[in-house]
């Protein structure tokens, strides 16, 4: 069936009849069956995956909009409730697709030097963002924007500030966005589109115009590190270092 001219290109056999087919052909010349690759087989349920990702993001939108914009929820108790709800959402969706996500929790080729380099990059980015956002806030709003003002006067205020802004977002946002969402979108679109959508959605969920200019590149960086290293942990530590630096700036009042 295969001529001498294209015998060199015959690198696969038909999935149905076993006939030799040139690797660039989509149909078997002997039985006519379409040659589904393993990636194509997964693609069959693309729309279901998009609906599932839509449910995940819809829950995030409702929770984040409620905690950010409804005055009655600006208390420690409600903030704890929303943190638990967001964490539950991330963990729930991540574990729902456990068989394809669990490998992201391993840490292959761990390198302490690489971890330090990534964390240093995150700290440098946070310092740059702190001063540039401070300047932007002052230019646009003639004041610095303050977050978590309800923690002032709380005996555990500093601990809670680090908990709310550094620890839980680093772990659960990575689990939700670079873990579940990016992994899900990689089955639906090519790498560039999946990375773009994840970064954009991560940036706009923070619901701040001023922060968009640094959130999109930062989310893209975290996504690229996750894809390059094939683990969530470098991103978790980077995210934690970034947020902790911002937190320390807030506490020191600089």
């Amino acid at each position: 069936m295969i001529t001498n001219d294209n015998r060199e290109a015959a690198e696969k056999t038909c999935i149905k009849c076993g006939n030799a087919i040139a690797s660039n052909k989509q149909f078997c010349g002997a039985c006519g069956s379409r040659q589904l690759h393993s990636a194509d087989a997964v693609v069959e349920n693309k729309w279901s995956r998009i609906k599932q990702a839509g449910l995940f993001y819809g829950l995030f939108i409702v929770l984040c909009a409620s905690s950010n914009f409804i005055d009655d929820f600006q208390t420690v108790r409600w903030s704890l409730f929303f943190e638990v709800a967001l964490a539950t959402t991330s963990v729930g969706f991540f574990t729902f697709n456990w068989t394809e996500n669990n490998k992201l929790l391993t840490w292959p080729d761990f390198s302490f030097q690489k971890l330090c380099a990534y964390c240093a990059l995150a700290v440098a980015a946070s310092v740059f963002v702190h001063y540039s956002v401070g300047w932007l806030n002052f230019t646009m709003y003639s004041r610095q924007q303050e977050n978590f003002t309800f923690l002032k006067g709380n005996i555990l205020g500093e601990f809670l500030l680090i908990f709310f802004t550094a620890a839980t977002p680093a772990l659960f946002e990575e689990l939700g966005f670079r873990g579940y969402l990016l992994q899900n979108l990689l089955k639906v679109a090519d790498v560039a589109q999946a990375l773009f959508v994840t970064s954009f959605l991560f940036a706009i969920i923070h619901m701040s115009f001023v922060s968009l200019f640094w959130l999109i590149p930062f989310a893209w960086l975290l996504g690229a590190v996750r894809l390059k290293e094939n683990t969530l942990w470098y991103g978790v530590f980077m995210h934690f270092c970034f947020n902790l630096t911002a937190c320390l700036f807030m506490l020191s009042g600089l």
């Binding site: 693309k46 409804i70 646009m140 639906v188 706009i204």
Partner: protein
């Protein structure tokens, strides 16, 4: 589909469905799956299915284009609102912040509209999520904010565009249509 044949190549050397060159004694075209040695009935049925797939692809492409146009429409609306509110009260202390935010939204939707011509799935998902977030924030102040035929129509158009972008990928793979 149509292709003129030179004297050097006989008509039977080409697939009747996709015009790909047949280089060996295959029973089926390896490019589109056309039954080269099938009965007339089988060949007619294949051509009919393929023609239906092409028509469906044209329809899906139109839906994707309309959804992309929705992003341009949103960009224009935000720019128009920015101009109107600035003209109504140019001396208000918060006017520049409001106008700047609308200009940023204009730029984002314009960029997404442009990106939708190359990568429709990513841009339509991003545009839909941004628009839904804006409406949810609007609902915090006014719970009936979303109850507008235009807002619902925009969301529906974008969802149809996303679904079409997914379906056309499958169609391209199954029937080798563009």
């Amino acid at each position: 589909m149509e292709e003129s044949f030179t004297n050097a190549a006989r008509p039977q050397d080409y697939c009747k469905s996709c015009a790909a060159k047949i280089v060996n004694d295959d029973a089926f075209c390896t490019t589109c799956g056309y039954p080269l040695k099938g009965t007339e009935k089988e060949q007619t049925r294949f051509i009919r299915h393929h023609a239906h797939a092409v028509t469906t692809a044209v329809d899906l492409n139109n839906k994707i284009r309309r959804a992309g146009n929705t992003l341009y429409y949103l960009s224009g609306v935000f720019m128009l609102i920015a101009i109107i509110i600035y003209c109504l009260d140019p001396n208000s202390p918060d006017i520049l912040i409001a106008v700047l935010q609308l200009v940023i939204l204009t730029g984002i939707f314009l960029a997404l509209g442009s990106y939708s011509r190359k990568k429709p799935l990513a841009s339509l998902v991003a545009g839909l999520c941004l628009y839904v977030i804006m409406q949810v924030i609007g609902m915090v102040n006014n719970p009936t904010n979303i109850l507008s035929i235009w807002k619902i129509a925009i969301i529906v158009y974008l969802i149809i565009g996303i679904r079409s972008a997914v379906e056309i990928e499958k169609l391209k793979k199954d029937h080798n249509v563009t």
